[in-house]
């Protein structure tokens, strides 16, 4: 597979998979409108992996909730495949920082929730799940309950559930945020391999610059609240990517650009020092 093959269909004829047009979102707090997002414009093409980075509380999660249809924007519009999105949940896959597994269901029964809700016969859904159990590193744990699994495994079950829901668009809300650094690195590499063999459109929200640069085709940088798009740039590293690339000159340069975009504002000082600490760990 060559680097650019099936993804990022940028030809003018096909509309972007997701388009956010002048999105603004307010929260009412004791009757006072409190802006969370202000005039956000964002495009994601079919098959692209796009990351949105920004400091905590800049409205990143709200952005995903809007795309998922869990919230309605105060201003602006959201287009999916060039059409105004109906704004109802259930049209895109959404994975949260928490694994949100149902504790009373086994690994397998959690994984097939999406097909089950759509009315797919159990046997068929189970068969599809069993095909993916091994690539998801869950072999032998099909009948285990979530409480018996480690954090990394639970997060993979949540991934499997999202994948089996079978949507073209997958939203990831800091999917590795709750994991320790070592498990997180393994999971990032695993997701890289998984995604590069598929043709899903992914929007990932994170505050980890390195994670965004390693996984994404493009990165959007948001300002602190109210969130606005401050910078957007393309990550022109070849695919397939490997975790070892984080020490390559090209990668470091991209990371530096992302950090610079974040650092322009003083209030990012905390984030920047966090990132350099992450660098020191290696």
């Amino acid at each position: 597979m060559t680097a650019e093959s099936p993804r990022a269909s940028t030809d003018a004829a096909s509309p972007p998979k997701i388009e956010l047009d002048g999105i603004g979102q307010d929260f009412a707090l004791r009757g006072v409108a409190f802006p969370v997002l202000r005039d956000v414009n964002l495009r994601v093409h079919r098959g692209e992996f796009v990351s949105v980075i920004g400091p905590s509380g800049c409205g990143k999660s709200t952005l995903l909730n809007l795309i998922a249809g869990l919230e309605q924007p105060t201003r602006g519009r959201i287009l999916m495949d060039g059409r105004q999105a109906a704004g109802r949940p259930g049209t895109v896959g959404y994975m949260h920082q928490k694994d949100l597994l149902l504790p009373w269901r086994s690994v397998l029964d959690n994984a097939v929730l999406g097909p089950e809700i759509r009315g797919t016969p159990r046997a068929e859904a189970g068969r599809r799940a069993m095909e993916l159990i091994r690539p998801f590193g869950l072999e032998g744990f099909e009948k285990s309950y979530p409480a018996q699994l480690s954090g990394g495994m639970r997060q993979r079950v949540a991934f499997l559930r999202t994948v089996l829901a079978d949507r073209d668009v997958i939203l990831l809300d800091e999917p590795f945020g709750a994991l320790d650094a070592l498990t997180r690195a393994g999971m990032q590499e695993w997701l890289l391999g998984l995604w590069e063999s598929w043709s899903k459109t992914v929007v990932m929200v994170t505050h980890d610059v390195e994670e965004a640069a390693l996984l994404s085709d493009r990165v959007y940088v948001l300002t602190p609240r109210p969130g606005r798009v401050k910078a957007a740039f393309t990550v022109d590293l070849p695919r397939p990517r490997r975790y070892e690339m984080v020490t390559d000159g090209a990668f470091v340069e991209i990371k530096a650009r992302a950090l610079a975009a974040l650092r322009e504002d003083d209030s990012f000082a905390g984030l920047a020092s966090g990132a350099s600490r992450a660098e020191g760990e290696r």
Partner: protein, 290 residues
């Protein structure tokens, strides 16, 4: 991918450690769980027997355990006949209380309006002493099984309602949102998330309710009946058949404990994840399991 499979092996090793450790833990827990209460009961009975004999207490005042045991054996047919009557009232009332309680909880949890309209009456029903209501039931319905069953229902539906309402409201909103992103409708949310998250709460209510059911049946019989252990006690006491009163009390206690254990057993089968979650949450385990 190699790094990932190594991580998986490490995770697998952590998980497979657990059963071996569990067996030893469970053995110790069982000894503590059954041995300790047995020891306490045996000690108390021995003290009672010795006390009555040494102080030469009259038998109609306080019979020794040996006399109560003898009475249990001698009057077993009589006691058994009345036991079945009481047990029938308890089980019928408990079953009705579950139906009434869960149905009420359902409408209360799903409608603010119903909650405001009905909840005050549910609470008020608990402030009126059941001992006052029981004679009224006798006047309205007469003797027979139903006044007793109604007293049982009145006493035991309350903990079921309160716990089930809490349970239905306790479903994690994040789980509900996740289900909505998978396209779940309201009924699917209820069946797949709210009802299962409610089960541990329901069973807490059932454990309280079953104990209250036994009390309810005896209170009902106390007020007016022609059969049942409560009736047998009211009739035996004036005749100074104190050992028979104690024998009936013993049977009631055994009945209560047995029914309670049966409810707990049902909970283990109906809510297996709850037990597993709690074990997983044990302090010291948290680092490996999270």
């Amino acid at each position: 991918m190699s790094g990932d499979s190594a991580a998986t092996l490490q995770e697998a090793a952590q998980v497979s450690d657990a059963p071996a450790r569990d067996v030893a833990e469970r053995g110790r827990a069982a000894a503590l769980r059954w041995g300790l209460p047995a020891l306490v009961v045996a000690g108390a009975l021995a003290a009672w027997e010795a006390g009555v004999r040494l102080l030469d207490v009259e038998r109609w005042l306080l019979p020794p355990p040996s006399a109560i045991g003898a009475e249990l054996l001698a009057s077993r047919d009589l006691l058994l006949r009345h036991t079945w009557v009481t047990l029938g009232e308890v089980l019928l009332g408990f079953a009705l209380a579950i139906m009434v309680g869960v149905a009420l909880a359902g409408v209360i949890a799903y409608s603010r309006l119903v909650e405001r309209a009905v909840y005050p009456f549910v609470i008020a029903s608990q402030t009126v002493p059941v001992i006052v209501i029981a004679p009224l039931l006798l006047i309205w319905i007469g003797y027979g099984i139903w006044p007793k069953v109604i007293v049982v229902v009145l006493l035991s539906f309350f903990p079921i309602v309160v716990n089930t309402v809490d349970g239905l409201k306790s479903a994690d909103p994040d789980l509900l949102r996740m289900m909505r992103t998978l396209g779940a409708n309201r009924w699917q949310l209820f069946v797949k998330v709210q009802a299962p998250s409610c089960l541990p709460f329901l069973f807490s209510g059932l454990r309280v309710a079953i104990a209250l059911s036994v009390i309810g049946a005896v209170v009902g019989e106390w007020v007016g009946a022609s059969a049942g252990l409560g009736y047998l006690m009211t009739r035996s006491a004036p005749q100074f058949l104190t050992d028979r009163v104690f024998a009936a009390m013993f049977i009631l206690a055994v009945m209560g404990v047995t029914l309670f254990l049966l409810v707990a057993l049902a909970e283990r089968y109906a809510v297996p994840w709850h037990r597993k979650t709690r074990r997983g949450d044990a302090p010291g385990d948290s680092s490996t399991w999270r």
